[in-house]
């Protein structure tokens, strides 16, 4: 059995069918990028992995267990914005993850245990390139720094999958390139399974090991809501067991040729 099994899921809001007949198998460690026209249901799909929405039909299992119908610590998320807590400093935002774990009653750690988790949090800040910003509140950080913090926060729980919904959509192109390096570094180090929505096709090709295109295969002009989108292209962008960055580069090169071929077909 695969790590994640998506078995013929449909999603419907009232009369509107958003997704239909979506099936896929995902192995641990894959980095999947999702593209598709606006409103085609990418976020809806991500929400079903997150647990805030459930499929109208079909099922999604992770490790052979249906995805719970509420968010949990095994599935981390980074939204386009509002992902970090504005009332906590950068460091506190990260420590919070440990406090939830270790202080069920007060949600706050003191003394020796706080010192311990502070060190972990500081290491995480360094990993995402945010050393020296411990005491700053999120509003005092740039958009890119806030997203770094959001990623760091999601990683504190060592989730099995990391869900990213256009995480760099609001950032400048230059900063985006830095963020791409960061997310690749994190993916290599942690081997976390990533699902990332992007509206930038190039970004999708560059980052992922596998690209999904969501689109409608059937369309009725009389009833535009009668049919939903599904995965129309499932393009492998290399192999998931690569270990080094060099190999990623090679496989990305390899995938580029593959893509041009697919496009010409």
């Amino acid at each position: 059995m695969s790590f994640i099994n998506i078995n013929n899921i449909w999603k419907q809001y009232d009369q509107t069918i958003v997704l239909e007949r979506v099936s896929a198998k995902v192995e641990a460690g894959e980095f999947i990028t999702l593209v598709g026209t606006s409103g085609c249901g990418k976020t809806t799909f991500l929400k079903m992995l997150l647990g805030t929405e459930s499929p109208s039909r079909g099922s999604i299992t992770m490790d052979n267990i249906p995805i719970p119908q509420e968010p949990g610590a095994d599935r981390g998320i980074v939204f386009q914005k509002y992902s970090v807590f504005p009332h906590l400093t950068a460091l506190q935002n990260l420590i919070l993850a440990r406090e939830f774990e270790r202080a069920p009653l007060l949600g706050k750690l003191f003394g020796q245990s706080r010192k311990e988790v502070t060190e972990q949090a500081q290491a995480m800040l360094t990993l995402v390139g945010l050393e020296h910003t411990d005491d700053r509140y999120p509003q005092q950080l740039s958009g890119g720094m806030q997203q770094r913090l959001a990623i760091a926060q999601a990683l504190m729980k060592q989730p099995k999958i990391l869900l990213l919904d256009e995480p760099f959509g609001a950032l400048d192109p230059g900063i985006r390139a830095d963020m791409h390096q960061l997310i690749l570094k994190i993916w290599q180090q942690t081997r976390v399974n990533i699902f990332m929505i992007t509206h930038d096709l190039k970004e999708g090709f560059y980052l992922g090991t596998r690209l999904w295109v969501f689109d409608k295969v059937r369309y009725d002009p009389q009833a535009p809501n009668a049919y939903g989108a599904t995965i129309t292209y499932d393009i492998p962008l290399g192999h998931t067991d690569r270990n080094t960055y060099k190999e990623i580069n090679e496989s990305l090169h390899h995938s580029d040729t593959l893509v041009t071929r697919t496009e010409h077909e």
Binding site: L50, T52, F100, Q139
Partner: protein, 271 residues
């Protein structure tokens, strides 16, 4: 010439413009009072400033012949005690119920319609009931303030809790937080500065209810004194008391604001 909406006063002009209405009010009063006193030296409606000082001097510095108390001090302490008790009680209940209502849909379904209806009851209409149930002394006055402002606080804080971006609550859950942890670490700290804002808005009504209750049944208090001396047309006491109450109201408002800026810097930098 710039558009009027684009013309901004310099800091000095701003101070002058701001002070102008105060100075004008004062001047108009002095002028009108002079005219009236020239016509009738015994006029009670617009006393001269000297009358204020002599009348207030007695209340402030000389113990009352009947009770031996310093009346102005006594009035201030009684009123402030009632006001603070009422406001603190309301703030605590408003915060707890507001956040819980905002956080837990089942509780909200249970309590929200009830609170909405209760908040529509005019508090002054139930004042007689308060006097009957809680007696004529302190408790009924505190309760009037409580009944007057708590429903507003609950509803306001409930909506402020609901306004927190759902992304935050989802994020907290992906960090493994329980309902309780989300309430105390995510919702409560973010609602606290909004409680201060709501309190600043509630202080006006709180004073209103306090003075109304004191006017109707009390042995002391700022409102009691004003309504007592009204019988003798003692504007020389009423006006300074009104100014004093206004000053206290301003002071509280300012203190709350300063406290909020100190305690919740993140809240004030975000705007």
């Amino acid at each position: 010439m710039k558009r009027l909406i684009n013309i901004r006063p310099s800091p000095i002009t701003k101070v002058i413009l701001g002070a102008l209405p105060f100075a004008l009010t004062l001047l108009v009063y002095l002028w009108a009072s002079d005219i009236r006193l020239a016509e009738n030296p015994n006029d009670k409606l617009m006393p001269a400033f000297s009358s204020f000082f002599s009348a207030m001097g007695e209340l402030v510095f000389e113990p009352s012949q009947r009770s031996g108390e310093y009346l102005f001090l006594q009035d201030s302490i009684s009123s402030l005690r009632r006001l603070l008790l009422g406001v603190i009680l309301s703030a605590s209940v408003g915060l707890v119920l507001g956040v819980l209502n905002g956080a837990i849909p089942v509780l909200r379904a249970n309590l929200s319609p009830y609170i909405t209806i209760v908040s529509l009851i005019p508090p002054m209409a139930v004042l007689p009931i308060l006097f009957i149930v809680f007696g004529l002394d302190e408790l009924s006055k505190v309760m009037l303030i409580f009944i007057g402002i708590t429903p507003f606080l609950i509803r306001d804080l409930q909506s402020k809790t609901l306004e927190l971006p759902s992304e935050q609550l989802i994020k907290a859950q992906t960090l493994g937080a329980s309902t309780w942890q989300i309430i105390i670490r995510v919702m409560l700290p973010q609602v606290l500065p909004r409680l201060i804002e709501a309190l600043r808005l509630s202080l006006g009504p709180a004073w209103l209810f306090l003075i109304a209750a004191e006017a109707i049944a009390a042995q002391n208090g700022l409102g009691y004194r004003i309504f007592l001396v009204r019988r003798y047309l003692s504007m020389d006491i009423i006006l300074p008391y009104v100014v004093w109450i206004t000053l206290l109201a301003f002071l509280f408002d300012w203190l709350l604001h300063v406290f909020s800026e100190r305690a919740f810097p993140w809240f004030h930098t975000s705007r």
